[in-house]
Amino acid sequence: MKELKILYLYPDILELYGDFGNIQVLKYRLEKRNIKCIIDQYTIGDNEPHFCDYDLVFAGGGADQEQSILAKDLVNYKNNIKKAIDNGVFFLLICGAYQLFGKYYKDVNGNIIPGLEVFDYYTEAINDRKKRCIGNIVIDVTLNDTTTKVIGFENHGGQTFNISTPFGNVLYGNGNKFGDTHEGFFLNNVIGTYLHGPLLSKNPELADYIIKHCLDRKYNENIILESLDDKFENLCRDQLLNQFLTPHN
């Protein structure tokens, strides 16, 4: 039986918008295909995880204050995280975690929270606490030369700059900054995005892309994933894409 090992970072802290949903969707889609899904968790106070032993590392978003506490913990593993990324371990980073993998995050009060500096993008919060990019969002994403629409919800005050390889082109919503044309960051085996919470639940194609990418690497073969009954997902996508992308009077 094939298996996939997931490392879930700070599940008790980075869980503001139902981020656990992504792990549940991955587990669901793996187990439906008789692939074992192993989920290990790491949080403050635990022993250092062996990042390279995993196929996928996942981290979500949290509240501002909590995020600054864990940033101090995460930088301890900077070198090992870089090594894992170089080795090809897949990283899915949502919202706060996405920001933390950049150079720094400058908060509303002007304090600089140093990031892991794995990538050279950086994030600055808008001075006005009330101004945030909030709302439904749809982006065009290219996965293995095929373009697909990814649907989600964004809620971030931080504006992310210096992105050379975005995750997608914005069709509806904001993206990395207010009124941006680009959303997120995507480079080989790393996706960082503001589409928070259960991103994968409405985007089975993206979920399967990540699963296949991880399995292909692990077993060094071209794995064909068995198709699943995505009736609810397709109905949901049709409804929302029609609502967001069709001009209404």
Binding site: F153, S201, D229, K231, F232, Q239
Partner: protein, 378 residues
């Protein structure tokens, strides 16, 4: 509901009470409640004013109305896209409390509530309430929660147990935060018989969730500050009911139906706890809207614990986000063939009553009254 229950106890004791029982807790709602109850010359005749107040209006309401007791129940994440992070809201209340010297009744088991006692060290009128560990308390947190770090030294809080969400017995291993002298403690919580004890005196209610036991303990703490006789409190609590779709029990086409509002994960988890603590076979209808008043973001449904639903035969979903909630429930492991999504509420309710069994209905904010109306017209 806590607001209504406090007013109801005062009324049962024979006092005239003015209260915003409809839950209109913004400044205009409170003002219009007062206007409705005043004479032509603007005089208000009442023994007690009891208000549920939106946190942003606390300073203004206290200043203008000279109220003498503030009760704070809990902080749960709720419509984050509209309200922002919970911490911002707590800091706002903390700021007001720095100069407040009136009675402050606080939930000792919510780390974000009991911390507010320290806002003004000079205030000696702090009254904590708490509920003793109940039978479904857990070692690990089962549902999304807020209190993770000590608000005073940023150390991770340690919990002896969780009652529900992040409400439970906590302590900071570094600075000791969490030890409070309790004014009213509910003991011997018995959800089957809907009873609990305070100061060796038994109270019975019409509600069967731990969430409500906390609320009633808060009610008792508040009214005790006004020397209401406990026999009167007991009588009031045993007859207190809500009929607005908040844990409302109805009989529809011979099927017992329990309707509850759930506008955030905690509300939904409380409803599912009640459902799971009920051994009968049942069907569930979940109605989820994403209108402005609900918050457009429905991510919170992933913080609802749908694991191991007990004796649920079918689940019908509806509302503007019927498919989102169907996906959520399917992913939790519930057989997708037994999940029926309907965007149309009328069709959903017809489907629900096409079989005979007990029904549980959970609806979020703008979905509640339309759902209730649809059910009543069955």
């Amino acid at each position: 509901m806590t607001n209504n229950a406090i007013g109801y106890v005062f009324k049962t004791a024979g006092y005239k009470v003015i209260s915003n029982v409809e839950g209109n807790n913004m400044e205009t709602g409170i003002l219009s409640t007062l206007m409705k109850n005043c004479s032509l010359t603007g005089k208000i005749k009442a023994d007690y004013l009891v208000f549920e107040v939106d946190e942003s209006y606390i300073p203004v309401v206290f200043k203008d109305l000279k109220l003498d007791t503030l009760l704070i129940l809990n902080f749960f994440r709720d419509q984050l896209d509209r309200n922002g992070e919970v911490e911002t809201l707590i800091l706002r209340i903390n700021e007001f409390l720095k100069t407040y010297t009136g009675n402050l009744v606080l939930n000792s088991d919510d780390p974000n509530v009991s911390r507010l006692a320290k806002a003004n060290p000079k205030n000696e009128n702090i009254y904590y309430y708490s509920v003793e560990k109940y039978e479904f308390a857990t070692k690990k947190i089962r549902e999304a929660g807020e209190g993770k770090f000590c608000p005073f030294c940023n150390t991770k809080l340690e919990y002896e147990y969780y009652q529900y969400s992040h409400i439970g017995k906590f302590k900071c291993p570094n600075c000791g935060y969490g030890e409070n002298k309790i004014y009213k403690l509910a003991t011997n919580v018995d959800l089957k018989n809907r009873s609990f004890e305070i100061d060796n005196f038994t109270y019975t209610t019409n509600f069967n969730s731990i969430y409500n036991i906390y609320n009633f303990t808060a009610v008792i703490a508040c009214v005790s500050l006004y020397n209401i006789d406990r026999n009167i409190i007991k009588r009031a609590l045993s007859t207190f009911k809500l009929n607005n779709g908040r844990l409302e029990e109805l009989e529809i086409k011979g099927n017992k139906t329990i309707i509850n509002l759930a506008k955030n994960p905690t509300g939904a988890n409380v409803s599912l706890r009640i459902l799971n603590e009920d051994d009968d076979e049942k069907e569930l209808l979940f109605v989820l809207n994403d209108n402005l008043a609900d918050g457009h973001d429905v991510s919170w449904i992933w913080d609802i614990n749908f694991d191991e639903l007990k004796n649920v035969t079918r689940i019908i979903t509806s509302g503007t986000r019927a498919y989102d909630i169907a996906i959520r429930i399917k992913t939790a492991g519930f057989d997708s063939n037994r999940i029926l999504p309907y965007l149309n509420l009328n069709e959903a309710v017809d489907e629900l009553y096409s079989t005979n069994s007990k029904k549980y209905v959970i609806a979020n904010y703008t979905a509640l009254q339309p759902t209730r109306k649809e059910i009543m017209s069955e």
